[in-house]
């Protein structure tokens, strides 16, 4: 019999429905796994007591025949960027250490309402700024995977590194992540799991600590495409408290998986063969094309000509918004405060002590690109590039239904390997950022291993609010890849 920690969400749901496992048993197994894997540092806060209470309530509902749906009793981890009522929420920053919100984010609230069990709050890059989970005030997260014959710890990717490590390391059945430029998809690829960013507006941003408002989007991180579809169904939905939330019905994403990819037009963008892409990655990309073709899809060559400008535009827009979004952390009302002789000193002392180096770097970049005399040259130009990138996709989707690319140029790297070189670090996002700028749904599916035994992901980008087609293609990739490797097995 499968261990409860090895279940997919779909399997756990079926087992709960069949009565072969209880929510309490599932939860206890995961609490034990979390305790045994503390060296991964995947969680900032564990909430075992509350998890067990949630589990017991779920079991009680089920006993009365009042189970709520597919997520009732499912143990999940919540990225510590979602505000959770009564549970410390830090965004992995010293400046919010000790902050306990009196409110629950809409997405985590939706998951609570669906009956899921919260195991704890996962680690991340500080304020979700990073691609390696090395900028957290609460320490690095380790990737559960190791290179063959090399025991050096690897990064899990970022910013949702704790979530990716927790899902990959069997510490939870699924987790919420957030993605601004690749923060769900890149760590999913590094940790050999599925990570999905929905269309901008599909999930409410209310109660999620903001990094870059026009890009931030919550999404599921799971061990199967089906699980991602189920979990997204529990997270998504219109929220009048978020003005950018889309007033659209949430489709049955899981039902979409039944439809084959026969006749689906899969776009292959020439421009995604970027410099620095590792040869194993290009080989895997070719493999992915072949898999989809074999499954009945049609491959279409497309062009997304402004791709190369996406990363620079992103690293103007995201810091610009962040510099303003993070102004509220001033030591006046909540979070950490370092006193000073006057107001300016209080601000300076608090923010210097409260923010780590990457956050400070991005605040400085953002402040610079918005300042008088530079605004047109940087911010306005970046917004024009963003519009051109969105137009590239619109034109490409006249010829295809979904786009296939690799998720990252290469597999996970060792801790410290790129942390001194911000540009090398930012290049991790080169393939994920365009979909973020265009607000499109995208998913990373684990599809193979590198020569030294590390997972690699394939990336599908869908049309706006057409997650269903993207999920169908992802299911076809998953079926063909048959990826069943897990960390620590070789």
């Amino acid at each position: 019999m499968t261990a409860p920690t090895d279940f997919t969400i779909a399997e756990a749901r079926d087992a709960l429905n069949a009565g072969t496992v209880s929510a309490r048993e599932l939860t206890e197994a995961h609490i034990a796994a979390m305790e045994a894997a503390r060296e991964l540092n995947a969680f900032i806060t564990e909430t075992p007591d509350r998890a067990l209470e949630d589990a017991d309530e779920s079991d009680a509902r089920r006993a009365k025949g009042e189970a709520l749906g597919p997520l009732d009793g499912i143990p999940l981890a919540i990225k510590d960027l979602f505000c959770t009522e009564g549970v410390m929420t830090t965004a992995a920053s010293h400046i919010l250490e000790g902050f306990v919100p009196p409110y629950e984010s809409s997405v985590s609230g939706n998951l609570r309402t669906a009956g899921s069990v919260m195991l704890g709050k996962t680690n991340l890059d500080e304020f979700a700024m990073g691609s390696s989970n090395e900028t957290s005030y609460f320490g690095n997260v380790e990737n559960p995977w190791r290179r063959d014959g090399d025991n050096r710890p690897l990064v899990p990717g970022g910013s949702s590194g704790g979530a990716a490590a927790a899902v990959s390391g069997r510490l939870c059945l699924g987790a919420t992540g957030t993605d601004t430029g690749g923060s769900i998809r890149q760590p999913a690829a590094f940790c050999g799991i599925v990570g999905m960013k929905p269309t901008y507006g599909r999930c409410s941003r209310w109660g999620v600590v903001a990094f870059a408002s026009s890009l931030d989007q919550a999404g599921p991180m799971t061990r199967s495409v089906r699980d991602a579809a189920i979990l997204l169904g529990g997270m998504a939905g219109f929220d009048p408290k978020d003005s950018t939330s889309a007033d659209r019905a949430v489709p049955d994403f899981e039902a979409a998986l039944k439809v084959s990819v026969q006749g689906l037009r899969v776009g292959i963008p020439a421009e995604y063969a970027v410099d620095g892409m590792n040869s194993e990655t290009s080989t895997l990309w070719d493999q992915g094309k072949a898999w989809l073709k074999d499954a009945g899809a049609e491959l279409v060559d497309i062009s997304l000509p402004h791709t190369k400008y996406a990363l620079p535009a992103y690293y103007i827009i995201a810091p610009a918004e962040a510099s303003s979004n993070l102004a509220r952390y001033d030591g006046v009302r909540y979070g950490q405060r370092v006193e000073g002789d006057d107001l300016t000193e209080l601000y300076e002392n608090t923010r210097a002590a409260g923010f780590g180096i990457e956050v400070r770097r991005r605040i400085l970049i953002g402040t610079y690109v918005l300042s008088a005399g530079y605004y047109d040259a940087y911010y306005i130009k970046a917004q024009k590039v963003r519009a051109l990138i969105a137009r590239d996709f619109t034109q490409a989707y006249e010829k295809c239904d979904v786009i296939l690319t690799p998720t990252t140029p290469g597999p996970a790297f060792a801790a410290g390997e790129k942390s001194d070189d911000p540009i090398a670090m930012y290049l991790n996002d080169v393939l994920t950022v365009p979909a973020s700028l265009a607000g499109l749904p995208a998913i990373s599916v684990p599809a193979g291993l590198s020569g030294d035994g590390l997972p690699l992901g394939l990336h599908l980008i869908g049309k706006a609010f057409d997650e269903e087609t993207m999920f169908r293609a992802a299911q076809a990739l998953e079926d063909a890849a048959g990826f069943d490797d897990r960390p620590g097995q070789r």
Binding site: F82, C83, T89, A91, L96, F99, P101, P102, Y103, S105, R205, W206, G207, V208, V209, A210, A212, S213, S214, P240, K241, D242, S243, T244, A320, E321, S323, S324, L326, A327, R328, D330, V332, R333, Y334, L343, Y347, T367, L370, S371, A372, Y375, Y379
Partner: protein, 483 residues
């Protein structure tokens, strides 16, 4: 044109105003917290207003409607697409670290209003724009020797910033402009215009130049909260700038504060110290898109506006600009006047309202709504003059009694026996008595001194306790003295 005289000749003042008017709305611009005035500090603060992590603004549709209504009242263009921007700066009473405002694309564009001046003329003043923005909280510096206390009740309250063209040329014009803006928003119900409570305040931009010359460097006097202070600040600022220039100096472009106790302005910060606000479109909010049909429906629902009413009073009632301007300032006053004027001589009605009534209200610091003299009562008083029951002089006495007691004028006339005497017999007797008593005056009159007639009138009035119809007295006196 009103000019100021300096040592080197005449100077022209150029004034532009930014009026901040609090939108009449139960809740704030982007949160559901209450906007009621005078609540306990920090009792009307939502999670959004205090800028908790992850909180998001949601536009208050009513505030947008109020802004559009005001824009229409300013005869201004309504922009069907407008954008909210963030104005970034750090201050403890600004919890988000930015104010949500509208920078490049405001909801209301160019418009114009008329201002009415004491000399009975009117001028048109251009409106540059009106935009919506959040108010900041209140920093209280005087309750603790070291600490500053913050009240966030006002944080996030909706303001309309109404920006004028630099079209005003005197403190009087600026005062008339704010008076008219206040009148318009009160007619529309979009702002209560209460300057004491801070519902309306103005930033005043002042520069001076030789008449018709190049525009001078301006200073901006921030947050002036009464029409009198606005006028004083302009007078002071213009004099200060003229003095600097005439002494060979140059005016600094700077932000200044008005000190009402000393009646002077003081430097707050120079251009070099000014903030770089790093405006950019707020990514938490989509562009504000309005339907033309929705704007048209608001236009249909507008009341008659002050300037329209003024023109109607002038053309239909034959009033002077000055009387009309006084009467239309408040909607209630205009309605009161129209009730008095109905079926009566409108000019006489206007004189009574702007003269005796306003005088008595001012003297007793009473609001029209609390006046003991209703429009009906004043109308009856005017009727008693028209039918000869009361002379103007008697009527004024009746008015005073009426204002103090709240009694009907007929009752006062009846009880106090204040009826005008038009009975020629009685008046003739009184005239005869006066002539008999004033032999010397009769001589003077016959000698050509017409002025002495007044003495006789006085005597007659004295003996009739002022009730004699003065016209009749005059007629009889002349007949007897000349005869």
């Amino acid at each position: 044109m009103s000019l100021l005289e300096g040592r080197t000749g005449d100077w022209e003042i150029v004034i532009g105003l930014e009026v901040h008017a609090q939108v009449t709305s139960k809740s704030k611009l982007f949160s559901g917290a209450s906007t009621e005035f005078g609540a306990e500090p920090n009792s009307q603060v939502s999670l959004v207003d205090v800028a908790m992590p992850g909180m998001l603004p949601v536009i208050n549709a009513h505030a947008v409607e109020q802004a559009v209504r005001t824009g229409l009242g300013l005869n201004a263009q309504i922009n069907l697409v407008s954008i909210f921007d963030r104005k970034n700066y750090f201050y403890p009473d600004l919890p988000q670290g930015y104010q949500i405002s509208q920078f490049l694309d405001p909801v209301v564009g160019k418009g114009e209003i008329e201002i009415d001046l004491a000399d009975g003329t009117s001028r048109t003043i251009g409106i540059t724009r009106l935009h919506l923005e959040q108010d900041a909280g209140k920093s209280i510096h005087d309750q603790d020797p070291r600490k500053t206390l913050i009240d966030l009740n006002r944080s996030g309250v909706a303001l309309m910033e109404i920006v004028s063209e630099p079209d005003m040329r005197s403190a009087e014009e600026a005062g008339a402009y704010v008076t008219k803006i206040r009148s318009i928003v009160r007619y529309l119900g979009t702002c209560d215009g209460n300057m004491q409570e801070g519902s309306m305040r103005a930033d005043v931009n002042v520069s001076v130049r030789k008449p018709g010359g190049e525009l001078g460097t301006r200073s901006e006097v921030k947050n002036v909260n009464s029409i009198r202070f606005i006028r004083e600040a302009i007078e002071y600022e213009a004099r200060r700038q003229i003095e600097i220039i005439e002494d060979g100096g140059t005016v600094d472009q700077e932000t200044r504060l008005f000190d009402p106790d000393r009646g002077e302005t003081r430097s707050m910060r120079s251009k070099e110290e000014s903030h770089d606000y790093r405006y950019f479109p707020d990514p938490d909010l989509l562009p504000l898109e309005l339907e033309q049909s929705w704007v048209d429906a608001i236009r249909e629902s507008l009341p008659e506006l002050p300037d329209q009413k003024k023109h109607r009073f002038i053309s239909d009632y034959g009033l002077s600009v000055d009387d009309a301007a006084q009467l239309i300032a408040e909607r209630e006053t205009a309605a009161y006047f129209e009730a008095v004027a109905e079926g009566r001589d409108p000019k006489i009605a206007a004189n009574w309202v702007t003269g005796e009534l306003f005088g008595a209200l001012n003297r007793t610091d009473t609001d029209l709504s609390a006046s003991s003299v209703s429009a009906d009562m004043l109308g009856n008083l005017v009727d008693l003059i028209a039918d000869g029951t009361l002379s103007n002089r008697l009527a004024k006495e009746v008015f005073e009694i009426m204002f103090d007691s709240g009694d009907d004028p007929e009752k006062i006339v009846e009880e106090k026996g204040m009826k005008q005497v038009t009975d020629t017999g009685a008046i003739e007797a009184a005239v005869d008595d006066a002539i008999a008593a004033g032999a010397a005056q009769v001589e003077q009159y016959k000698g050509g001194n017409e002025k002495v007639l007044g003495w006789f009138v006085g005597q007659v009035m004295k003996s009739t306790q002022g009730k004699a119809n003065p016209q009749v007295v005059n007629e009889i006196l002349r007949k007897k003295l000349d005869g």
